[in-house]
């Protein structure tokens, strides 16, 4: 049976050290390396991200995934890349179970204090719940510095998307048409409300024209948003396929 080693990585210093260890181990055991990145599911603002980066010793200028990939290539270790979104520990364990890995190698930032209470220790959680061997690496300062130097030399970052990749899609153009329809309706409400107030107080459907138009503007917004989202999801799925 093929040996598999799972390397969950972000761009944190401990993860970079773990990457070096995992590649070394995979080479020795002639195992396949599975490089995993889990995109966190809680939206966070810049200040929150900065605070998280400082606590977890992340290096935002480094792409942890690219580093692992390039290092594996250099050492001639076969690898697979997996990107998941969701609860970090849960996804790491999911992937390890689904792929039948024998060993998980991961860095531990061991956050302490208030930040530790808030962020929790992912490595500890994985070690507790995993059904396989878990090697957590809590690197020394020296190891961290070396890993960082190595990672800075290896740069395999992907290019970001451009605005045109969004604005040139068909779904965006459909959105523009819907937008025009809504703005026309809103303009009608605005012009009548400003200059034809007599019309707005005419009775209609048991209410008056103003109230009916107002409710219609709210309902139209909800319906358009839901329908457009349904359409966009369909288009995105078709594109992926």
């Amino acid at each position: 049976m093929e040996q598999k080693i799972l390397l969950p990585t972000d761009s944190s210093l401990p993860a970079l050290v773990a990457t070096i260890e995992a590649v070394k181990m995979a080479k020795e055991r002639k195992a396949k390396l599975i490089i995993l990145t889990v995109i966190e599911s809680t939206p966070s603002t810049e200040i929150e991200q900065q605070a998280g980066n400082v606590t977890l010793k992340r290096c935002p200028d480094i792409d942890g995934m690219a580093f692992a990939r390039e290092l594996a290539k250099q050492e001639g270790v076969p690898y697979d890349e997996v990107v998941r979104e969701g609860p970090v520990s849960g996804e790491i364990i999911n992937v390890s179970n689904a792929m039948g890995v024998q060993t998980i190698v991961m860095g531990s930032s061991a956050p302490s204090g208030l930040a530790g209470l808030y962020l929790g220790d992912v490595a500890k959680s994985v070690a507790k719940h995993a059904k396989c061997e878990v090697l957590t690496i809590n690197p020394t300062k020296e190891q961290g510095r070396e890993a960082l130097m190595l990672a800075r030399r290896i740069d395999g970052k992907k290019k970001p998307k451009t605005v045109e990749s969004i604005t040139s899609t068909k779904q965006f153009k459909v959105g523009l048409v819907l937008f025009a329809v809504y703005v026309a309706f809103y303009a009608l409400l605005m012009i009548l409300g400003a200059f034809e107030r007599g019309v707005m107080s005419e009775r209609l459907l048991g209410l008056n024209v103003g109230l009916v138009l107002g409710f219609a503007a709210i309902i139209l917004a909800i319906v358009m948003a839901v329908v457009f989202n349904w359409y966009a999801i369909k288009m995105e799925k078709a594109q992926e396929a």
Binding site: T42, V88, I166, G175, I222
Partner: protein
Amino acid sequence: MVAEALANDFKPLAFTLFVIIVMVTLAISTYFSRRVRTAGHYYTAGGSVKWFVNGVAFAGDYLSAASFLGIAGMIAFSGFDGFIYGIGFLAGWIVALFLIAEPLRVMGKYTFADALVSKFKSKSVRLAAAISTLVVSIFYLIPQMVGAGTIIQPLLGFPYEWGVLIVGGIVILIVATAGMVSTTWVQFIKALLLFIAVIALTIGVLVVSGFGPLEFIQNFLDNGAANPATGGLAHTGDAFLSPGLKFNDPWDFASLCLALLLGTAALPHVLIRYYTVPKPSDARKSTVVAIVLMGVFYVLMLYLGLGTNYFAGQGKFIVTDSNLAAPTLANFIGGELFFALISSIAFATILGTVSGLIMASAGAIAHDIYTEILGKKKSDKSALRVSKITAVGVGLLAIALGMVMKGQNVAFLVGLAFALAASANIPALIGVLFWKKATDRGIVSGIAVGLVSALVLIAVSPTYMDDPLFPLTNPGIVSVPLGFAAMIGVSLLTGKRGE
């Protein structure tokens, strides 16, 4: 029985409930963010959680003191002219959904300026965007602080200034420990609480009045509306439920409508939420969730505003401060407990919005000016320190301004902030996104002219001058076109020269 306004005394029950709500919100948000990272099993429905949570948090960020306290009061006192705020606040999200959300997520990393600079590598564009973010945030902070000061009086019996100080103080504390408390989770919980409270209050209004939803509105059309400050009959139904009671000048009404439509998608604390999700499609999905929630919310607000007017007309109570319409109504419908609940949630709402705003403006200064323009960033640690120091500075400024602006209707003040955001940021956003001929100088001019003209027109408006030089209370209808004209004109001029 003589109708009375809310008493400004200390209420132990209200105080206890208030402390519990704040503590529980913080505790739950800490629990969730920890769980999301370290739960051993896959307990959430895949990736959907982030856009759903973010969408609800969007609504939480947006449904501020203005939406809740201000609109209810504006509807209670001015009928349809209050309702138009709700319609316009929602319409603004349509702009965000179809034009801004997804492109912005692709372009920007952290701030509004990032998005603009992704096309023009220009320090002056970044500086202009950072200044505009700062000014708009501060303008939007003022009504939140006024709301806090207003609600603290009947809630806890403290003077107005205490409310402003408490909110400012707590928020500075939250931001100073940022990263410890995820604002997304706080907003999420707060939005859910607000929804439950508003639904309960609406049901209460209909049950106590004995009318059906449609009948309730028809009753106003047939029997007229009261003045909530006195309880006496003041308006015919036709006058109350059609435009013109507050915005007598047609151009003022039109100007407000324009500012509300274009302002939302240009508000810094709304824009920064778009950078918090990993993918453009998440930005869109979050916006859709927010639109659905807020559409329902603004319909319910109509019932709260009208409910206040109705019961005041029945001689059940009077409302002396328009910002206290919803809390007064809650006190009548459900007694002190319900009043305390509604007011505590309103107060928590303000806390959430203020911390979002302060994060946006601190981000603008720390990221755009300190890191990018001055190039001073040494590490994330130093950038974080600058962010926090900035946040404290903006917080102190907000406290000072909140004290000065005592007594204004918060929805009205928010209308001004929207006009400012729309005038300064929308021409630049539209130029960068959709117009190939836009130049960096054009963008800077659009921001500068839009921002300055809106500020000047507000300063010489009837709100701040007895003998106004500009007749409209809301500057949008003049300053937005001026911003566009400057952006387009200067782009065309500098573009040709560059060829």
